[in-house]
């Protein structure tokens, strides 16, 4: 707590980020001060904060250095305003620190996470327009909400900020709910638009713009209570600065499948993604399991991997990008306050070079309101 405060206020973060942290902490501690008046308020106000301390036993992994860092947090602050029974505006601001990750050079202290207008045509059909979360997989819409994640972050093999795995789309999302609350039901989303991303170039990370993205994702709720299966597919065009001289535009596609089961105290999840563009195939997989062992204590484990298959250019072959095995123990004071301890064995990217390997441990506290 002390080290975090010092780090936050004096070394790394700017005033806006600190202000966002202060607002979320204040609201979480005194929620009644932010409660709606007579329950008819058109305004809604929610927030989330996850603060971590992490260190590795060697190589820097995911921005975590050997000497440790508490410059590791995510903050979200959400404002909603109901324009009527069927219309609303929602804005979410975000502040994120990822230790010594090179990606930090491309981040603002406080960023617009998403902002959209929603119109609900009926209980089974609604449309959002603006910057909207992409309804892809189990965790994409809630990547930074620590109280909803078994570990500090969702599996990075699957949910990294890459061209094919964006958190949001600048465009439109259409959602439909069929046979809701029946034994078999379907929740389907269609999205289109574009997004900004980062990718590895010859000189490090470079900005990339994805355009003309069109995708669909669906979840099938099964009669077996707690079990759902889903999948999606999308295509897009990338304008990559890294390859601008030779290939200003690249068409790419992806599909993903997922299954999630919540059976009493046991939670099981697995997802697979396959992305392809000319000369490049990317595959990512993970499996997660958790069990409530005693009251608020939950034990979690996950295994994930991602690999890249190159069939053109100077480097040919299949290269492991991420291999990670993690275990964790969470204590849930209440659904809005969770303490997490986790340990991972991680092998990072090693295209043409030996893969860096490291074990890292992390302690974090997640709060939301």
């Amino acid at each position: 707590m002390i080290e975090w405060h010092d780090t936050l206020m004096t070394r790394h973060s700017g005033c806006l980020g600190a202000a966002l942290v202060a607002v979320v902490v204040s609201a979480a501690v005194a929620p009644t001060a932010f409660a709606e008046g007579d329950g008819s308020s058109k305004l809604s106000f929610h927030g989330s904060l996850t603060q971590a301390y992490a260190r590795t036993d060697g190589e820097t992994v995911l921005g975590i250095p050997e000497r440790g860092t508490s410059d590791y947090r995510t903050v979200s602050l959400q404002f909603g305003y109901a324009l009527g029974d069927n219309d609303r505006m929602v804005v979410q601001l975000a502040h994120e620190r990822i230790g010594e990750s090179p990606g930090m050079a491309f981040r603002q202290d406080v960023e617009l996470d998403w902002a959209f207008f929603e119109h609900r045509f009926s209980d089974a059909f609604e449309v959002k327009a603006g910057r909207v979360q992409i309804p892809r997989g189990i965790f994409n819409e809630i990547r930074d909400i620590g109280t909803l994640l078994p570990f500090y972050r969702p599996p990075s093999a699957f949910y990294s900020e890459t061209v094919s795995a964006s958190e949001t789309v600048d465009g439109v999302v259409v959602s439909s709910h069929l046979r809701r609350d029946q034994a078999w039901s379907i929740d389907a989303d269609l999205y289109c638009g574009g997004w900004n991303s980062l990718e590895s170039g010859r000189t490090g990370l470079v900005r990339t713009r994805v355009e003309n993205a069109l995708g669909v994702h669906a979840w099938l709720q099964t009669p077996l209570e707690g079990l759902r299966v889903g999948g999606g597919v999308h295509r897009m065009t990338t304008r990559s600065q890294a390859t601008a001289t030779t290939q200003p535009q690249i068409n790419a596609g992806q599909y993903n499948v997922a299954a999630e089961g919540v059976f009493g105290p046991v939670v099981l999840r697995a997802e697979h993604a396959y992305s392809h563009s000319p000369g490049i195939v990317f595959r990512a997989n993970y499996a997660q399991g958790g069990i409530k062992v005693w009251r608020g204590v939950v034990a979690n484990a996950e295994v994930q991997n991602a690999e890249l298959e190159l069939s053109s250019g100077r480097l040919l072959g299949t290269f492991g990008l991420i291999r990670d095995f993690g275990v964790g123990l969470n204590y849930e004071f209440r659904p809005t306050l969770i303490l997490k301890l986790e340990a991972h064995h991680n092998e990072g990217s090693g295209i043409g070079t030996p893969s860096p390997k490291a074990r890292y441990g992390m302690a974090s506290v997640a709060v939301s309101f």
């Binding site: 405060h5 501690v29 809701r180 004071f333 809005t336």
Partner: protein, 148 residues
Amino acid sequence: MFMTKIAALRLAAGAAIVWRLLPAPAAAADGYKVVINAANPVTSLDRREASAIFLRRSTRWPDGTTVMAVDGPDSPAREAFSKDVHGKKAASIRSHWLQVIFSGRGVPPPEKASDNDVILYVKTHPGAIGYVASATATDDVKVLKVTP
């Protein structure tokens, strides 16, 4: 010495935050009853319909009036309602709403501080529906039958 005092103050502040967020001890078990505005012609709902209303998946009464669901305070009645109608613990429903909020898909019903506040809200809003402890006086509202 000065820094030690600062550190102690920070630790105390941290402990106060954690203490404030700890759950309150549970009271004895109790029943519940679902209440709607007296002018609402509906007389019963099955559990699936009631669950859909309180999860904001169903937003209109049969006559087209907008449903205005309201949650009660943390109480044995809320726990009983949650288990009976949603088939889940109240904590699971809170987790569900966190998921809904932060995926941008909606917000939960407003939460009242007491059963009397729930009654007052339901009494003064034509489309309102709430739940209160069995022992709560419900003279000014209509008690709805919830069938399996």
